[in-house]
């Protein structure tokens, strides 16, 4: 680590001394963030002194610095989890510089050494990224080369190991990942296609993972390879995007050590014009968990990313039961329609009215036994047969939601939303035996700007269900003084909990100050137990009570 730092500094110093470098061109930018929480016992919501176990403070923080001079760039990120906030993996505890890199970039070549993030296509085969709010980081540590041999052709090569919390890579303690990707824009390379009435982009990628195998029982593949192909077609306002990925047998703790191949398909067809947009998406996933350590089951060391294709909800109750991709198998579809009723029409009014309709459903795949004697999914076997075009009747998730937003005057606007949800909590959250949740939700969100830069926002939500925690109501009032201040009071009330003693109020008081890109926010209150998801990754958050502080700045 120290050596790397010294080399980096040397490089920076050296770069100044070369005559052709003008230090005027050098720039440094960065960002810092601190999220701290003080926890207090709160017996009403089940947090006792012993549950806290002396851990009254938690802190997640980072600092990121990027230095650039002409075509040279270098950066490093410091992180501290002392200890991590409630709900984060305990293996995150620690501090140091987990992310250090340097790169050189010209039009033809872009090369990075150290830690980097990259994605091939839509990520079905390879995606390395980070999500600070979830504590997710599968950054690569190695070398990345991007090449553009000619206009319209882009090649990517990656080689390295993946981040696993604070554990340093050592021989055989996890796998090595290497891959290649090519993307060709046909309109740019074929003469006469520049002005064609259609657009066509094709891409292909390959990934190989090496991990030593020394299993006493199974003969495991040490090299697991995967291939993916994609095509993007566009004509007029239509656009079609498809990617298909396949990998060879990869027995792992995630799939109960079956030798079946993995497959994933993602396709979307969309239409967009001013005022109107529609998209339909299809997805099929079969045994597609791909990690660089076959023994890991946590949210770590993922090589690929299979996106859940359903709406990410923004209101607290509508986001209470979020879906997470079932990597071992699922089939789903999504439909979304956005329409803006033009201003001046009867329904559009003076400002126009926005309507959004969204539907998604995800089912299990069908798994037929290999023969009469081997049960489905038995370890050491091929697992099962699965017909590609048929879905099981078992519904994991279904969400139908309609949202209307309307501005009534320059001062008043509102959003209303209805949502009907089916959520198989037993599968998605691993709560075996729990019945699926069927719920109806309503949201009203009204913003009243009563002065040029002052506004009040009211949010009322209701969730009605017979299952799990029963009915909820939520209210929020927010007062903002643009661009600097906000104050908010919110309460979520679980008034319909079948257990009388759990009919709790989860209240919070919060305030924040923003100046340019610096932000300080403080909140006091209770956080209900739940799931936080960003992108496709979710994190279970335990109930907590106390004071939180968040400070961040950019420069």
């Amino acid at each position: 680590m120290k050596k790397q730092l010294i080399t980096l500094l040397l490089l920076m110093a050296a770069s100044f001394t070369f005559a052709q470098f003008d230090p005027q061109n050098a720039s440094v930018n960065g960002s810092f963030q601190l999220d701290g929480q003080w926890y207090r016992p709160d017996v009403a919501i089940g947090i006792t002194d012993s549950a806290l176990a002396g851990r009254k403070l938690g802190m997640n923080g980072f600092g990121n610095i990027i230095y650039s001079l002409g075509d040279f760039k270098a950066g490093m990120r410091y992180e501290a989890f002392l200890p991590p906030l409630a709900g984060f993996d305990p293996r995150q505890e620690g501090n140091g510089f987990p992310h250090i890199w340097a790169g050189y970039q010209r039009e033809f070549i872009d090369m990075t050494v150290g830690n980097f993030y990259e994605q091939f296509g839509s990520g079905l085969l390879f995606r390395s990224y980070e999500e600070w709010t979830l504590g997710f980081d599968n950054s690569m540590n190695g070398i990345r080369v991007l090449l553009q041999p000619m206009r319209g052709i882009r090649l990517k090569g990656i080689y390295g190991s993946q981040r696993f919390y604070w554990q340093k890579y050592e021989r055989n303690n996890r796998g090595i990942v290497r891959g290649l990707d090519a993307e060709i824009n046909m309109n740019e390379i074929i003469q006469g296609w520049e002005a064609a009435p259609f657009r066509m982009i094709v891409g292909a990628s390959g990934i190989s993972k090496y991990q030593r195998a020394a299993d006493p029982v199974y003969n495991l593949p040490e090299n697991v390879g995967g291939m993916a192909g994609r095509i993007q077609l566009g004509a007029g306002n239509f656009s079609l995007m498809t990617e298909y990925a396949q990998k060879i047998n990869d027995p792992s703790a995630m799939n109960n050590f079956i030798y079946r191949e993995g497959r994933a398909l993602l396709a979307s067809l969309s239409y967009a014009e001013r005022g109107f947009g529609a998209v339909i998406q299809l997805k099929r996933v079969d045994n597609m968990s791909f990690k660089s350590d076959r023994s890991v089951t946590a949210n770590a060391l993922d090589i690929n990313f299979i996106p859940p294709i359903n709406r990410t909800h923004a209101y607290s109750l509508t986001a209470r039961y979020p879906y997470a991709t079932q990597l071992n198998g699922e089939m789903g579809l999504q439909f979304q329609l956005n329409y803006k009723i033009p201003r001046g029409s009867k329904l559009g009014g003076q400002y126009g009215t926005g309507i959004a309709i969204n539907f998604s459903q995800v089912n299990d795949i069908i798994r037929n036994p290999l023969n009469d004697t081997i049960p489905v999914g038995s370890d050491g076997t091929l697992g099962y047969y699965s017909p590609f075009f048929k879905a099981s009747k078992h519904i994991f998730f279904r969400d139908l939601n309609v949202e209307i937003d309307k501005r009534f005057s320059s001062k008043l606007k509102a959003v209303v939303q209805y949502m009907n949800l089916h959520y198989d909590i037993a599968t998605i959250e691993g709560k075996a035996g729990a019945p699926p949740i069927n719920a109806n939700l309503f949201v009203t969100d009204v913003t009243w700007r009563f002065a040029a830069r002052k506004a009040l926002r009211f949010e009322a939500q209701g969730m009605f269900t017979q299952q799990h925690d029963g009915d909820w109501a939520a209210l929020m009032i927010e007062y903002t003084i643009a661009p600097k201040w906000f104050f908010a009071i919110a309460d979520q009330f679980n008034y319909g909990n079948p257990d009388n003693s759990k009919r709790n109020h989860y209240y919070t008081f919060s305030a924040g100050f923003t100046r340019e890109s610096s932000r300080i926010a403080l909140s006091f209150g209770r956080q209900a137990e739940g799931v936080v998801c960003v992108g496709g990754v979710c994190r279970q958050v335990p109930a907590s009570s106390g004071l939180s502080l968040s400070v961040s700045t950019n420069f």
Binding site: T7, L8, L11, A14, S15, F18, Q20, N25, N29, N64, G70, D71, K73, A102, Q105, R106, M111, V113, Y117, Q119, R127, Y129, W132, I143, R154, I201, Q232, G234, S239, M241, S268, S270, Y271, A272, E273, R274, G275, F276, Q281, P307, I309, T312, A314, G354, T447, R449, A452, R453, K454, A455, A482, P483, G512, T514, E516, S517, G535, G536, S552, N554
Partner: protein, 166 residues
């Protein structure tokens, strides 16, 4: 690792430095129809620009962009400002960005930063995060979060760049 650094050093010696066109980091992201787009090409003929990071799941971001859109014609007439809206939606929702943005009637350029490369290069952690750039792509002001009416404060900074009084 060491070899890589040595190689890099070598590269630094051998290859001459290109002239800098834009102060923005050069990262390859995508246009709404899937074409590669280098962020070094974010430009506006020497006139100011606004670059705003957003996502489909971020309500305040949409409110901010809606507010920009309501004023865009007037702002363009006055200062020639150009707005770029950078979606950080990942592959979960990239396919929905174009239909969504078009249905909103937004008149500015929308680009896709599906793996957050541009977001990281600009040190954006929370969205909405909006930058005001001068004609050379240099950041002169930035702001995170959006509250009703904040667009006017931001536009004052654009006006200051063109030498126009508040």
């Amino acid at each position: 690792m060491k070899n890589a650094f040595l190689f890099l050093m070598l590269l630094l010696f051998v290859l001459p430095l290109a002239a800098q066109e834009s102060a923005l980091p050069k990262v390859t992201i995508k246009t709404l129809d899937g074409k590669s787009f280098n962020t070094g090409n974010i430009s506006n003929d020497g006139k100011p620009m606004i670059v705003s990071f957003w996502a489909i799941w971020c309500k305040p971001c949409q409110k901010e962009l809606d507010a920009f859109n309501e004023n865009y014609a007037a702002w363009q007439a006055e200062t020639g400002v150009k707005i770029y809206a950078i979606s950080i939606d990942d592959s979960r929702s990239t396919a929905r960005v174009a239909p969504f943005a078009k249905s909103k009637g937004w008149d500015f350029e929308v680009l896709l930063d599906a793996n957050g490369d541009f977001k990281r290069a600009m040190n954006v952690n929370m969205i909405p995060h909006t930058f005001v750039l001068d004609g050379n792509g240099k950041v002169v002001a930035q702001h995170t979060s959006y509250f009703e009416g904040a667009e006017f404060e931001l536009y004052d900074k654009v006006k200051a760049l063109t030498g126009k009084k508040k």
